[in-house]
Symmetry: C2
Subunit: 337 residues, 2 copies
Amino acid sequence: MKYEHILLAHGGGGLLTSELIREVFLPAFTNPLLAPLADGALMQIGQEKLCLTTDSYVVHPLFFPGGNIGSLAVHGTVNDVSMCGGVPLYLSAGFILEEGFPLASLREIIQAMAAAAREAQVHIVTGDTKVVAKGAADGLFINTAGVGVIRYPSPIATASIQPGDVIILNGNIGDHGAALVNAREGFGFAGGLESDSAPLNHLVAAVLAAVDSVHAMRDCTRGGLGTILAEMAEQSGMVMEIDETRIPVRETVRGFCEVLGFDPLFLANEGKMVLFCPERDGDKALEVMRHSPHGADAAIIGRVGQAAARGRVIMRNAIGGSREITPPAHELLPRIC
Amino acid sequence: MKYEHILLAHGGGGLLTSELIREVFLPAFTNPLLAPLADGALMQIGQEKLCLTTDSYVVHPLFFPGGNIGSLAVHGTVNDVSMCGGVPLYLSAGFILEEGFPLASLREIIQAMAAAAREAQVHIVTGDTKVVAKGAADGLFINTAGVGVIRYPSPIATASIQPGDVIILNGNIGDHGAALVNAREGFGFAGGLESDSAPLNHLVAAVLAAVDSVHAMRDCTRGGLGTILAEMAEQSGMVMEIDETRIPVRETVRGFCEVLGFDPLFLANEGKMVLFCPERDGDKALEVMRHSPHGADAAIIGRVGQAAARGRVIMRNAIGGSREITPPAHELLPRIC
């Protein structure tokens, strides 16, 4: 690796995160379940096919328009389990608290976690609380791990993506990233920027019940839609062709990005996902998604071209030009999720 | 609650931790699986009985005699799964890194995690890495969650403890706590103070295979043997009678405690556990434990008396006196695990 110390970008979900995982974590922990680098790991235990996922939440500020670290910690892990094709059932929750943290804030966060768990119909069944000295943490960090059961007959994985698959996105991108940057940096951008943080398990369950040919799913969290698609293109060796005009972006988010020089493609989301399935089932999947409260603005944003020597993402724009989408090597933004 | 802000003692594993859990977490997350407050939660998924546990590791210093945060993060969670009577199979690992953390240290910690996982025969199957800005964390925090499968025919739980059960401890207490305080505070106490951090799953598997009447197990981590027994006494409503002369304490640890005014009963351990079973099977369980590398100094340290209006722990000392063991309300020590 080029660096001797950890940089913020090592946690940004882009190229340096991939490098850290590939060069430090994977060689040490190598095992067949870890290798696919999906949102979670599949486990066969006796007769049951299960999945296990984990995520640590270090969002700043802890409270933001559309949620707080507690609701986020439930949504994020519920969504990771869902992206494996699993029905999320049980969550663990680990809290690292800074000495002096206000109990009233903790209560509010815990209430939001509980409400999020009720909406997603999952149970938080085990937990752990640590307190570190003042200055040794930034208020509160939460880790959640999720266990789900997989009943879908075919494997939902990046490796299952086929040429000709359509790429379906469940709604507007960039809301979470824009809301967080606006809240953290105090830009005071008006127009109601709000995180899209939401549990996607009910939406996923509805699509999986209606369509038996889903090939892959991924939530577009750290790094945004652009980074997620580039990673999936690389891992599958496919060329993905997306159409900029079909990618829904809220007007306020578009304005925010234009003023501040951000690209919504690389802004984080916490309630957005892409789904890959054969074109013949695309309209059906889209229809089901649009009937879900978290999929009203769903759209088919592109399709998978042929396999290629190097998987990549090509985006056509409104005036007919096209460009390759490559994730930024360094942080576009201060860390937000 | 008496306090409006989080104190270090809220994470110390003693009375304030219990209060925080009972008054803030439990009312919000209430569900039947969480209620028993054991080291982990039992989950019935299809035909399989599984358990899920989680722990965050915030140890300081990150490297200490006998291990580092990486080996500790594997041992701790392997042991929590084992205490539920589960065979630990899969672990998740979430890393929160401080910007600027040396990559060489990270590599060493990851190698130690991998080695610990190999010894325990568990797989680290999924992970997550976050980086926070310099000053927003203390170097590195690790969360691990563990999934295990339960095959033991009867429930291993504090609620299963019966009057007449013997209490078996697998070896010397206080090693981890003494080694950490010595390393952190730079006391420079000689004599080889070293953490006992170790995976107990093979020891537990051997005992469970030999003895079909095990009632309960707990590892004696935060708060030490004294706090763990007091909690189990309270939860089970039993009076536990232990004999101070039978509790093994290494000479160096005893000396360290005498000089610094600590009580080994309340020092943390990371490779020690208590096991409860009927007296008729006590010698057999002890014998099997002593054949394990992590149980050579195992001893029967007491027995469970009658149920009482208030469960408590009574310790007899060498000169025939006896006293009730109550966990300290506040931190005895700076936080170490």
